[in-house]
């Protein structure tokens, strides 16, 4: 029964995506061909369903920011339980400088943004709601420039701006967003250092399953724009994805990344049209390799 509920929940959340709206219209349109009257009850249901979808969509977009930040702190504490920040204050400060400049190009620069390099040798990067962004040491070491670092951070920042994680968690919780908010409330109402057990489980679930694939593609497109606004090379995400694509996907450090993200080659294909507007740029934005090397390379 619980499983069924979850399935229903999942279906409902999937229907939030714009494609689903069309599918409903087409699907029910087909039904109504067999109907006798204009007041066909199927038609009535459609508008209700669509309104419901819009409501949920609006609710996620309009989620209370304090709650969003609380959920994000819970999620960040879980990730930090799995991997600690690298003990290198200069490096951590540097990545916050780069990240801060990137988020200042968005309409959510007021969030309590925190950036950190985690000591894991896996290749991955994570965001949590409300503005915690993590990149693993493994991924950082495969990058070639500050522009590439900014591209990775901007992709994660885009997830936060669009609240993709809130959406994903709402699809995991059997009561949807209200269930997630309830858990967040338990954390906030509890003692210091308390996080609701169910919240911990659902956060893990989300990071193990990953986000909606279309949300990943969207974060790629948005991230390119955000990083470009900051003055970085718009093509830096392309070179990052090309590097990832050139690494054997069976390498141990890539398992979770590929379980939760579309293949790098697919992401490159999907980015292609979005990059056309940058094609004939005469000016070549700096890659800031030197600054990057000053903080990253000395650690090799």
């Amino acid at each position: 029964m619980k499983y069924l509920l979850r399935l229903a929940q999942l279906f409902f959340i999937i229907s939030i995506s714009s494609i689903a709206l069309n599918t409903y219209a087409i699907g029910f349109g087909g039904f109504s061909l067999g109907g006798d009257t204009e007041e066909d009850s199927n038609n009535f249901d459609i508008s209700e369903v669509i309104d419901g979808v819009k409501d949920i969509s609006r609710t996620i977009t309009g989620i209370d920011e304090a709650a969003e930040i609380e959920i994000g702190r819970d999620a960040a504490a879980v990730l930090l339980g799995a991997s600690k920040p690298v003990n290198d204050p200069e490096l951590q400060r540097y990545i916050n400088k780069v990240g801060r400049w990137v988020v200042n190009q968005t309409n959510r620069s007021h969030l309590p943004w925190r950036f950190a390099v985690l000591s894991s040798t896996h290749l991955n990067a994570f965001a949590t709601p409300g503005g915690n962004i993590f990149i693993t040491d493994g991924l950082l070491r495969t990058l070639n420039s500050e522009a590439e670092l900014a591209a990775v951070l901007a992709h994660e920042v885009a997830h936060v701006i669009k609240k993709h994680h809130i959406k994903a968690m709402s699809s995991i919780n059997t009561s949807g967003l209200s269930g997630v908010l309830k858990l967040a409330g338990q954390t906030r109402g509890g003692q210091d250092n308390f996080i609701a057990k169910e919240m911990v489980g659902q956060v893990k679930d989300m990071y193990l399953r990953g986000l909606d694939k279309d949300d990943e593609f969207e974060a790629d497109r948005m991230g390119v724009v955000i990083a470009s606004r900051a003055g970085y090379d718009p093509f830096a995400l392309v070179t990052v994805l090309q590097t990832l694509d050139s690494i054997n996907p069976e390498s141990s450090g890539l398992e979770l990344l590929y379980k939760t993200h579309p293949p790098a080659g697919d992401r490159l294909d999907r980015l292609d049209p979005a990059l056309e507007q940058f094609d004939d740029s005469v000016e070549e934005p700096p890659l800031l390799e030197q600054r990057f090397n000053k903080y990253v390379a000395r650690r090799l």
Binding site: L79, A82, I95, N132, V225, D245, E255, A274, S281
Partner: protein, 179 residues
């Protein structure tokens, strides 16, 4: 001493960054005489053609095939995947140096670095929340109004809609930032 060696190694690799790289074409694409989409088309390259990357300029790679040389769109290129055996045997200095000859190849280090894992599926599943580590992130946070030290100027660029095909194209992204 080790650090010094690393530094020298790193500087050398940086210089070699532009070195030739083996790659393939990911889809049928035009080979242009210059890095512009209005440039003269030399020929069409078919998907999976083997190429060598000579250098990059913006959204373009200058490449050569056995017969031709010209420019292709960056996104239509895939680097040749390193084979696993080579990665696994790459721990000796000699081999690390030999990888320099083919360009900067840091990805190899990923599989040979001393394993401090921590974000495998299993480790994530077993993680206990660490709130102290979370609070410690505040130590490195940068305030919203802190001056940007990158030397970069911000630009006005709109988010793309849909697949990006409806993006504003009438504006050149790099000419927007007049102060």
């Amino acid at each position: 001493m080790k650090n010094l060696f690393s530094l020298i190694l790193f500087c050398t690799t940086s210089l070699l960054f532009a070195a030739d790289k083996a790659a393939t074409i990911s889809r049928d694409t035009d080979l242009f005489s210059k890095p512009f989409k209005d440039a003269e088309i030399i020929t069409e390259l078919s998907a999976k053609s083997a190429i060598t990357i000579l250098k990059r300029k913006g959204g373009w790679y200058e490449i050569k095939t056995n017969e031709e040389q010209g420019w292709v769109r960056l996104t239509h290129v895939r680097l040749v995947r390193k084979n696993k055996d080579k990665q696994d045997n790459n721990s000796s200095v000699g081999e690390a140096l030999s990888s320099l000859a083919t360009g900067r190849d840091k990805s190899n280090q990923v599989t040979t670095a001393t394993a401090v894992k921590g974000l495998s599926e299993e480790e994530l599943s077993n993680a206990e929340p660490d709130i102290d580590a979370l609070n410690a992130l505040d130590n490195f946070a940068i305030d919203e109004n802190t001056n940007n030290e990158s030397g970069l100027a911000s630009r006005n660029i709109d988010y793309l809609e849909g697949d990006g095909t409806t993006a504003k194209t009438e504006q050149t992204p790099y000419s927007e930032d007049e102060e």
